[in-house]
Symmetry: C2
Subunit: 209 residues, 2 copies
DNA sequence: GTAATTCGTGACCGCTGGTCATATAATGAC
DNA sequence: GTCATTATATGACCAGCGGTCACGAATTAC
């Protein structure tokens, strides 16, 4: 028998309920000890039902992370093209960091999926989704950097140096923004500006002003 | 009754055995599912004995991480003072990254202790140890940067900008070097050079050569 | 030699993520 | 409207986890 719209609709609604419940619990204080039963209870369904939608607890995390990163990509694509590559880069870097700041509820999800061992356990289809995401982001980033170099605004450097550095800087900054070891006595907005400044400095290094 | 040297010696030897066993297991493939029983077995002792030395499994991780970071600090202090702040900074940044590369067996330990929630569970004395470590490292780093600025080799910038950026860059680079999502098609040694280059570029930005 | 004391031990506990036989309810042929 | 069919929800159940603790072996003190 083919699933009817009625049933399908309810099924999908449940999935959304599970994801919403999981995100709420994962963003709480004791997210490390969130159990499948808690997620099921909050979604108003039985524990077994969760496993009709996700093969494991990890897959719930993976799904939430995917949603988050696709949101980030959309956020990046929203940056307008202009004739000022530096301002564009500033805006993109700042925007991406702000996106993370505004969606702190995904902080623990991101940390969880970046743990070593997570990808080994993940099913192939999810891994492919993440790889596709990486590729799309790489295209977008490379274009921006190359345009800036061609315009003479950024110093000519091997693309790999710049991408490597920007990537490390960005990830480190996100960890700091979200990390629980916030030894830095600085406001998030101010922190983001500092990091953007640092990034642009490195992109322009060697240029005589 | 006071513990005799004989007993104390054996006790300490056991502690070393536990740490060595734990590090071996944590650096393996399925480190996420390492159990206390496995650690005890490999150390050749009973499970209960582990808890005579460490209040929890987390404390074993914390102890290993402390050892690792103190090694890093010693590694930094070994850098010779010279009249060339840029070469000094290059050497320090490169050395610290190489130290991580050479001690990949601590990769999972570092990832584990940087998880949100880890510090909340950790006992006060361990937290103090980590804070002391942070402070010592900050002193060392600030001195190097300020010396470079005073000598006119690095451009004058607020110390917070530089520290912020360098810190984020460094942590991001370590994650990349150790991360399991190694999408970057680049050799570690080459990667380190690129990151060092990126860091120095940002430190010198604005300087006319 | 023997009593006192320390320390290692593994059976045990509460709880977890994940499974599966069963109960339930929506569906469509008549 | 009725009822056989079938997709779906469920929670008792399982193996295994981190952590505890009463007990016994081994060492010390005298």
């Amino acid at each position: 028998m083919v699933a009817t719209p009625r049933k399908l609709q309810e099924f999908e609604r449940r999935e959304a309920d599970i994801l919403a419940a999981a995100l709420e619990l994962f963003s709480g204080d004791n997210w490390e000890s969130v159990t499948v039963v808690q997620i099921a209870d909050r979604a108003g369904i039985g524990k077994g039902t969760v496993y009709k939608h996700f093969a494991s607890k990890d897959e719930i995390y993976a799904r939430l992370a995917l949603d988050f990163f696709y949101g980030l990509l959309r956020c990046c694509h929203r940056i307008q093209d202009s004739n000022d590559p530096e301002a564009e880069m500033r805006s993109a870097f700042r925007g991406a960091l702000q996106y993370h700041r505004e969606h702190q509820e995904y902080s623990n999800v991101r940390q969880y999926v970046f743990r070593a061992g997570f990808w080994e356990r993940l099913s192939k289809s999810y891994i492919e989704s993440f790889e596709k995401l990486d590729a799309e982001f790489a295209i977008w980033a490379n274009q921006r950097i190359e345009r800036g170099m061609d315009a003479g605004v950024f110093s000519k450097q091997p693309l790999v140096t710049v991408r490597t550095g920007l990537d490390a800087l960005f990830n480190g900054a996100v960890s700091q923004l979200w990390g629980n070891r916030c030894w830095m006595e600085i406001e998030p907005d101010e922190y983001i500006e500092q990091v953007v400044e640092f990034a642009i400095n490195s992109l322009k290094a060697g240029q005589v002003e």
